[in-house]
């Protein structure tokens, strides 16, 4: 008689846990940056499909590479290392991106804590959801390649090769995920709660940029493996892709190198350490965080400091000189600093830029791994070095052009529409000033000390002036049809012709830095020519600005019927 109610209770408990797991799993995708139109389910499929496609593209690229390789010995080690570097950086990126979803947040506290659900069950559900999430992504990234791996890259027993590949990639992915997740846990332990949030945000942004950079640098990382593994410096032990390439060698030897076998053994220790660290940092912290969320958030922050206030006053007085310019300029700065999705986008862009710079300089750089000395061959590297600021400024300006189109808060742009300050010119001037003062000029100033190492000071000064001038011209060109206040667009991008945009971007990125670097090399030989070029550039700019008097009103809604949008009938 008593068994039936107990069975019912057990079923209810299991159903509750299952519901929570499903909820937390969907929360990993329920981010505005991932699902701007509020359809997380559709986005799960889209993201996984994209990753699977990425895996397929990686295998095709690698297959093309193997056509030129004899598929034996160190070439197989290279391919293994290349794929591991790819997949580990993607998993690392995803976990860092999802940092916030690993712990319960304010929405959880508001929705779930009033319900009769014990904290341990929330923890269990959250951990299960995280592991499911990881598993799904590992399958999406590694699945396609695992199927093709034995046929395309390694001979031998089909199933054994496939199983080895699957095991190693899963181990590498778990290491990458647990290590990335543990950084957040460690920060929570080490830092006082007051400064945790800003520091964690900075670390998250830097890590995301680093992961993108590592992803793009995977071929270079794999290429250096043999050299690094052979060196006595022990640097290879600190590169995760090398460790797990060693594990691959341990499970399926192809070169029988003792150094690789040692790396393989170290990889198991590393995986154990990362798992233990994840468990140790997350179980107590979860409980701590869960309780902390019940407390109200800090509500009386002290506001900006004296330096911040003084700096803003100087900027307002000497740079902006119009209330609308002040409004737009500060709004852009605050949005970039505080809006997660915009910061993430710029981090990805920064990682992309850093990878491009390293790739352009890599052929001219020699690293002595014993002494960690970096040697750059000055003569041939000259053109590449001159191209560095130009590449970075192109990535920066085009990145800002893209990120400005992404709305900060879709429904909040009424504040701009209703203020009646339809001062298109002032708004666009403020935007251009922001790009210059907070983007282009700091970038060139930051690079000037490096330029001074390789070039005499007059050349460095010319590079600074010429680079800034070119950047202004580039900005004018890229923002030619931009008639909106950044982040106030009434819809999410996606309707534009992405293929066209990407093509234009890639062509620009290939030709702009190299052509301008060539021009700069010719100009620095003659002070007269250099001065003439700057004067001509300034004249073009002046004439351009004379012509471009923005008369049209600011664009908030694009070309769609505003009536339908405002009624919310399309959303």
């Amino acid at each position: 008689m008593q068994t039936e109610p107990r069975l019912k209770t057990d079923r209810a408990v299991n159903e509750q846990l299952g519901t929570l797991v499903r909820l937390f799993f969907s929360r990993f995708f329920d981010k505005e940056s991932l699902s701007p139109q509020g359809d997380p389910a559709a986005n799960v499929i889209q993201i996984l499909g994209t990753l699977a496609a990425l895996g397929a593209i990686v295998s095709i690229l690698m297959f093309c590479l193997t056509l030129m390789l004899p598929k034996k010995g160190w070439d197989i080690v290279y391919l293994r290392c290349l794929f591991l570097a790819f997949s580990m950086s993607i998993i690392g990126f995803i976990v860092v991106f999802e940092w916030d979803a690993i712990f319960p947040d304010r929405r959880d506290s508001q929705v779930l804590f009033p319900l009769p659900v014990p904290v341990w069950k929330l923890f269990l559900a959250k951990t299960t959801a995280f592991l499911l999430f990881l598993g799904t992504f590992l399958v999406a990234i590694d699945g396609v390649v695992t199927i093709f791996w034995p046929a395309l890259f390694e001979g031998g027993n089909f199933l054994a090769v496939m199983a080895t590949h699957l095991l190693v990639t899963i181990a590498a992915g778990l290491f990458s995920a647990f290590a990335a997740a543990s950084i957040q846990g460690l920060l929570l332990i080490v830092l006082p709660i007051k400064i945790f949030r800003p520091v964690a945000t900075c670390v998250q942004t830097i890590l995301m940029a680093a992961m993108v950079m590592l992803f793009l640098l995977s071929p270079i990382i794999a290429e250096k493996f043999r050299l690094m593994a052979g060196s006595s410096s022990g640097v290879a032990r600190w590169v995760p892709a090398y460790l797990f390439s060693g594990l691959y060698e341990l499970m399926r030897p192809v070169v029988r190198s003792q150094a690789l076998l040692d790396l393989g053994k170290t990889s198991l220790t590393a995986l154990g350490c990362a798992t233990a660290l994840f468990a140790l940092t997350h179980i107590p912290l979860y409980l701590r965080q869960a309780h902390k969320l019940l407390d109200p958030p800090p509500f009386h922050p002290s506001g900006p400091g004296r330096f911040h206030i003084a700096l803003n006053a100087v900027v307002d007085r000497f740079l902006l000189r119009h209330p609308v310019q002040e409004a737009v300029f500060h709004y852009i700065g605050k949005t970039i600093v505080r809006s997660t999705k915009h910061r993430m986008f710029l981090a990805v862009n920064a990682g992309f830029g850093a990878a491009l710079v390293i790739m352009s300089l890599a052929p001219f750089v020699t690293v002595d791994y014993a002494s960690f000395a970096i040697l750059i061959s000055r003569g041939p590297a000259r053109a590449a070095l001159i191209g560095v600021p130009l590449t970075l400024s192109f990535v920066l300006i085009s990145g800002l052009r893209a990120v400005f189109n992404f709305p900060a808060e879709l429904a909040a742009n009424w504040s701009f529409q209703m203020t009646g300050a339809n001062q298109t010119g002032q708004c666009l001037i403020a935007m251009q000033k922001w790009i210059l003062v907070c983007g282009v000029i700091p970038l060139f100033l930051l690079l000037t000390p490096f330029t001074l190492v390789f070039f005499p000071w007059p050349v460095a000064v010319f590079q600074l002036v010429f680079g800034v001038m070119l950047s202004v011209l580039l900005m004018e060109g890229l923002f030619m049809d931009f008639t909106r206040i950044p982040f106030t667009c009434g819809y999410f991008p996606g309707r534009n012709n992405l293929i066209w945009l990407m093509s234009a971007y890639v062509i620009g990125l290939i030709y702009y830095p190299s052509l301008m670097a060539d021009l700069e090399i010719r100009l620095i030989t003659s002070p007269l020519k250099a001065t003439a070029a700057v004067v001509i550039g300034c004249l073009i700019l002046w004439k351009w600005r004379e012509r471009a008097k923005p008369e049209e009103s600011l664009d908030y809604l694009g070309d769609d019927d505003p009536a339908v949008r405002t009624l919310g009938l399309l959303q």
Partner: protein, 254 residues
């Protein structure tokens, strides 16, 4: 004076607002009432210029607002139905943004923003991000933003939503003061007692059409009903609400 003349909005041949006409006189508060989905907020969006009407026009002091929307918006203070704000800004930063977009000098914006936040009991929270604010606090920020530039016309769409009793009482006094200062005020609310207390005239809309537009006193006499609540029930709500309540309890128990 704000005049709404034959304002109409169709969406795919469905009338959302159908031939709505009424006037809002300066120095008075005009209440605009209707159940959810009756077309109140759509009317507001058309009056503020955020939505293009299918037909009709809105006149301010005899001039069509569409002929010079920028000037109209300079004279307008608007509290929208939903508190959509830039949640990563602080309350003070939001007011500074709005003040500067309204081209007020920085010193004036800072002074007025701080004063308004103090008077609306938000000063201690001025440096907290709006994301940490309650709905009532967000509403107060919106009210402050609507008043920052001393507008001639105020359109207030559910300004009391989520607001505590003290702030609601303060708001009732504020409406009277603003009306006394000669402002033209259009006030949407579901709090019928507040409307009855503050408004010189009420306009009742149901299914996109105006059902009544007169002073509460005249409506009472005309319909021989004792309160605005009963007038509203008669004009805009035909269901037997007592029966509906009993049905809800029955569902809950089942």
């Amino acid at each position: 004076m704000l005049e709404i003349q034959s304002l109409t909005k169709y969406y795919r041949n469905i009338p959302v607002v159908d031939d709505v006409s009424f006037s809002v006189r300066p120095g008075e508060v005009t209440g605009y009432l209707g159940p959810n989905g009756s077309g109140k907020s759509t009317t507001m969006k058309m009056i503020t210029g955020m939505l293009e009407p299918t037909g009709g026009r809105v006149l301010l002091d005899g001039g069509d607002i569409r002929s010079d929307m920028a000037t109209f918006r300079r004279r307008l203070g608007y509290v929208p139905e939903e508190p959509h704000l830039y949640s990563y800004l602080t309350g003070l930063e939001y007011l500074q943004l709005i003040g500067r977009l309204r081209m007020l000098p920085s010193a004036v914006v800072d002074r007025k923003a701080n004063d308004l936040l103090s008077l609306l009991a938000l000063h201690v929270h001025r440096h907290a991000h709006i994301s940490a604010y309650s709905k009532g606090m967000k509403q107060r920020v919106l009210i402050a933003a609507a008043l920052l530039h001393d507008p001639d016309v105020l359109i207030l769409d559910e300004p009391l939503s989520g607001i505590d009793v003290t702030s609601a009482l303060l708001f009732t006094h504020l409406l009277a003061e603003l009306a006394a200062a000669g402002k033209t005020i259009l006030y949407i609310s579901h709090v019928l007692e507040a409307v009855e207390k503050s408004c010189a005239q009420v306009v009742i809309i149901y299914k996109g059409r105006i059902q009544a537009a007169d002073s509460v006193e005249n409506l009472r006499k005309l319909m021989q009903l004792p309160s605005l609540m009963e007038i509203f029930s008669q004009l805009a709500e035909q269901r037997d609400l007592g029966k509906a309540a009993r049905d809800i309890v029955a569902v809950m128990r089942g």
